[in-house]
C-alpha cells in the first residue's frame, strides 16, 4: 500500500463507521463490463489500489500484497448510479416528521434557485444501506416537491461514506415545466409558465456570466442571490434538469436551447420524448426516464410507451434510467425492462452507470471502470438486469461494503427461532 500516514488515518476513521479498510484488492475471474473504451473483459482481474481502479485485464496476474477476491463466474459492473433520487433527504414520506425532499416556501417571490441539498444529505439514512446492498453506489439527489418555480440544486452523493457523502455539490439545477407546474406556480396555464421561464433566463443572461455584487445596480425583479445561482446554468457548467412530458413542451425547450446555446439541458421523465427523438439527439439533450411509464395519465402524456427508452437510444439520445428514492434499487429492473422492449443490453447497463455520470459531469470519477476512476463496483450473481440476480459484493471507493441493512436485519430476526423469548432479544 502506498498510503501516506495521513490518508491512512483518514481511512481508519472512515472504516469505523462503514466498510473494511481500503486494502488493495484484486478481483478475479469475473466477466467485467467496464463501460469504458475497454468494453467487456472475460475472466478479468480487476486491480484496485488506493480506492481507485488500477487496471482491468483478461487473465491478469494478482500482484503480491493484494487481497484476492474470487469472483469466478460472476458479473462485475461499475456501481449503479441513481439517476434521480432524493436519497439522504427523506426517511419516511408521509406523516413522519421533517423531510428535506419537500420544500414549501409559500412565498411567490422566492425563485428556488438557491435551494441546495448538499446541506441536507443525511448519510445515516437507512435508505443508504438498503440501496447499497442492492448495488447502488452513488446517486443524484435533489428535492422532489417544491412550491417554488425552480426545484433547486441537487448533488451527486456516494452511498459509501458516512462522513462525507457529497461527491459533487450543486451538480444540477432542476425545474418542472409540466402542466402540474403551471398549476402550481403559473396560474394554471402554460401561457404564463413559459413567458415566466423565459423572463428568468433573460435576466440571468443579462449578467453575461458575472455575478451581481451587493453594490451593483440591478433592475431585474429577481433577487441578486436567486439570479446569481443561475449563472452556472447559463454557462452550461451546471445541467438544467427539466421535468417535461408533452411533445409541444419539449419543442418549446428546443426553442429555448436555440436562444441560449450554452444551456446543458437534460429532460426528466419526458414521456413523449420518443416523438421528437432525432431533434433531441441533434441538440445533444439527454433524458432521464422511467421506461415502465406507459400509461396516458393525463393529456400531456398520451404518447406514453414502453418503447420510449429504446426509440430515444436508437436516435442517438443519451438515456439514463432510475427515478426513485426508497426503491432506487429497482433501477436494474427498470433498465432490464427497457432492454425487454428494444434497448440493446449494453445501453440498458449504460443507462444506470456511464450515461448517468456523463449527464451530471462526473464521468471522470464514476460510471465506468478504467484506470484512475473511483473503485465503485459491484459483483453480481449474474446479469444485473435480470430480476433474479443480486449483488454479492459491493465495493465503494475501494472498500468492501458490509452487505447488511436494517431490512436484512429485520429479515434475519424473524427467520430466527426465538426459542420462546421475545423477538426484541434477537439481534442479528
Amino acid at each position: 500500500m502506498k498510503t501516506t500516514m495521513k490518508t491512512l488515518a483518514v481511512s481508519v476513521s472512515l472504516c469505523l463507521s462503514l466498510g473494511a479498510l481500503a486494502d488493495d484488492i484484486a478481483i478475479t475471474g469475473a466477466t467485467v463490463h467496464t463501460m469504458s473504451k475497454q468494453g467487456t473483459v472475460e475472466n478479468a482481474t480487476v486491480l484496485v489500489e488506493d480506492g481507485k481502479i488500477k487496471s482491468v485485464k483478461a487473465d491478469g496476474k494478482v500482484p503480491r500484497g493484494y487481497k484476492q477476491v474470487d469472483a469466478s463466474g460472476k458479473v462485475i459492473t461499475p456501481g449503479i448510479i441513481g439517476a434521480y433520487t432524493s436519497l439522504g433527504l427523506v426517511e419516511v414520506e408521509y406523516s413522519a416528521g421533517i423531510t428535506d425532499y419537500s420544500v414549501k416556501m409559500e412565498d411567490a417571490d422566492y425563485l428556488g434557485t438557491q435551494i441546495d441539498v448538499s446541506y441536507a444529505i443525511n448519510p445515516d439514512s437507512s435508505l443508504m444501506d438498503i440501496a447499497r446492498i442492492d448495488g447502488i453506489t452513488s446517486a443524484v439527489s435533489g428535492v422532489s416537491y417544491t412550491d417554488t418555480f425552480f426545484g433547486g440544486q441537487g448533488a451527486v452523493i456516494t452511498l459509501g461514506d458516512k462522513t462525507n457523502p457529497v461527491l459533487k455539490s450543486r451538480a444540477v439545477m432542476s425545474i418542472d415545466l409540466t402542466g402540474d407546474a403551471a398549476e402550481g406556480v403559473a396560474g394554471g396555464s402554460r401561457a404564463i409558465l413559459w413567458p415566466k421561464f423565459m423572463a428568468v433566463l433573460a435576466q440571468a443572461a443579462s449578467l453575461k456570466g458575472k455575478a451581481l455584487e451587493q453594490d451593483d445596480e440591478w433592475e431585474g425583479d429577481l433577487s441578486r442571490a436567486d439570479v446569481n445561482a443561475l449563472l452556472p446554468v447559463m454557462s452550461g457548467d451546471m445541467p438544467l434538469l427539466v421535468s417535461v412530458k408533452r411533445l409541444s413542451d419539449i419543442r418549446n425547450l428546443l426553442t429555448v436551447k436555440g436562444m441560449y446555446k450554452d444551456l446543458d439541458v437534460v429532460l426528466l421523465n419526458p414521456t413523449e420524448a420518443w416523438r421528437i427523438a432525432d431533434e433531441l439527439a441533434k441538440h445533444n439533450i439527454g433524458v432521464i426516464l422511467d421506461p415502465e411509464n406507459n400509461l396516458p395519465y393525463d393529456f400531456e402524456q398520451l404518447g406514453a410507451t414502453l418503447s420510449n427508452a429504446a426509440k430515444l437510444h436508437a436516435a442517438g439520445v443519451t438515456v439514463a434510467i432510475g427515478m426513485n428514492t426508497h426503491n432506487i434499487r429497482l433501477a436494474t429492473q427498470h433498465a432490464g425492462n427497457a432492454v425487454a422492449h428494444g434497448m440493446p443490453w449494453q445501453e440498458g447497463l449504460a443507462a444506470i452507470t456511464s450515461n448517468v455520470a456523463k449527464l451530471f459531469g462526473v464521468d471522470d470519477q464514476i460510471g465506468s471502470l478504467s484506470k484512475g476512476k473511483r473503485a465503485d463496483l459491484v459483483v453480481w450473481s449474474g446479469d444485473p438486469l435480470e430480476v433474479m440476480s443480486y449483488a454479492e459484493n459491493v465495493i465503494i471507493n475501494g472498500k468492501e461494503m458490509p452487505m447488511e441493512s436494517r431490512q436484512s436485519k429485520l429479515r434475519d430476526r424473524y427467520l430466527a427461532d426465538p426459542k420462546g423469548a421475545p423477538y426484541r432479544y434477537i439481534k442479528p
Binding site: E91, V92, E93, Y94, S95, A96, L127, L247, E272, R275, E292, N293, N294, L295, P296, Y297, D298, F299, L302, G303, A304, T305, L306, S307, T325, H326, N327, R329, L330, Q333, G336, N337, V339, A340, L385, E386, V387, M388, S389, Y390, Q407, S408, L410, R411, D412, Y414, L415, Y423
Partner: protein, 478 residues
Amino acid sequence: MKQYPSWLRPKKLAGLIALSLSVAIVPHSLADDEEDKEPQDPFVSINPDPFPSTYSPEDSGVVLIQNVTMLDGIGGEFTGTSVLIEGGNIKAVGNMLSAPSGAVVVDGTGKWLTPGIIDNHSHLGVYPTPDVDSHADGNEMTKPVTAEVWAEHSVWPQDAGFSSALAGGVTALQILPGSANLVGGRAVTLKNLPDRTVQDMKFPGAPYGMKMACGENPKRVYGGKGGPMTRMGNVAGYRKQWIEAQAYKEKWEQYRADYEAGENPTAPSRDLRLETLSGVLEGDILVHMHCYRADEMAVMMDVAKEFNYQITSFHHAVEAFKIPDLLAENGVCASMWADWWGFKMEAYDSVQANIPMVHNAGGCAIVHSDSDLGIQRLNQEAAKALSSGRQAGLNFSKAQAWQWLSANPAKSLGIFDQTGSIEVGKDADLVLWSGDPFSTYSLADQVFIDGVLVFERGNEELWPVSDFELGQPGEGER
C-alpha cells in the same frame, strides 16, 4: 352455477326465486294452512345479483398448445407438455397429446405456459387513466364506513390500463374501493376482457369481496372530520359496525323464520350498508383488508373471531413476515408487494423476503399490484421475491412461486374452482411466455381467456385499444 347467499331467501323456497324478481310470490298451497292465521303477504327477498354478469366469451374452438415448459400453478413444472383447449376449458394436459382435426395448433417450443396471472388488488377502472379529477372514483371519502358502495359502479371499462395489464398476462382481477375508509365498500372480480360495460367483464359466479382498511389511512382522512383519529378509534369503528350488522342479520333471520312458520311478518327495511356487512357474517362476501402492521393484523384477526367472520386476505401486508404463523393458523392470506416500502411509517419495516417467509410458514402468499404499472409485470415481482427468499435460505421452486400469482389469488377471490391453475376442466385462462417468466426479458407472447386468444404480441389486430386512446398520439404504442 351462481351461488346465491342463503340469507337472502327462505330456505324452503330457494328453488322458486327467479333471478330477475325482487319479490317472489309464495303459492298459497305451500304456506301453513291454519285457519286462525292472517293470509301471508308476498315473501320479500332481495335479489343478490342486481347487476348480473353479461360476460360471454367467443367460442374458443379447439386449440392445442404444444411442447411447452409448463408451470401448472399448483406447484408442478413439466417440460415438453401440451395443453388441449376445447369449449373454453382445459380439456387435456399431457406429453402425448395429438391435435384433433380442425384444431388450431400453437407451437410452444422454447416457450413457457402458465395459468393467467390473477391480481386480487387493482383499482383499474375506478382510478383509471387518464388519472384526472373527474375519474377519481375509487374512494367514497365521505364517511368512515361506506359498505353500501360497490366498486363496479365506478369501473370505467375504457381504462387503458386493462389492456396493458393483459399484455402482462393478467387474465382476472379484483377491483377494490380505495383504503381511505374503515369499510370501503364492495369489490368486484372481473375477467380482463373489457368491453362496453362493467357487466360484460364480471367474472361469472365470483363472490363479492368487501374492502376494509387498517391503520394510517382512515385516521389521516377522518382525524379532522369527526374521527376516527387513532388506531383505537379505527377498531371501535369496525366493532360498532359489526354489532349493527349482527342485529340486521338477526332481524332478517327472524323475518324468514316467522314467515316459514306461516306468520305474516313485516319485512325489515333494506339497508345497503348492513346488507353487505351481514353478507360477510354469512360467509358469502369475502373480506379483503388493507393492513400493513403485524400487530394490527393480529388485532383484526381477534375482531374477526369476536364477530365470527373470516378475513380472506390482508393486503399490503408489509409486516406479514413478523406473524406468518398467526396468519397460517387463522387461514388468512397475505397479499404483498415484493419490495415497496417507506412511503409511510406502517410501510417502514419491509423485507424483500416477505412473500417467501409467509409461504415458508405454511401460509397463503399472494403477489398483488395495487398499481396500474406493477400489474403489468407481476411475474417479475414474484421473481424478485423468489430470489430474495433463496438468498435467505428459503429454497422455493419457480413452480411453487407461481402459486403466488394464480392459485392463491384465485382462492382469495373464491374462483379457484374455475381458474388459477392448469387442470382439466378449468377455464383456459393461460399465458404463453416468450421464455422463462422469471426473467426480466420474457414477455407474454399470447394470452388466452376462456380459450380465446385475446392478446398476441406483435399482432396489431390483437392489440386492444380503448375508446379513450383511439385517435390519440399513443394509440397502439403502449
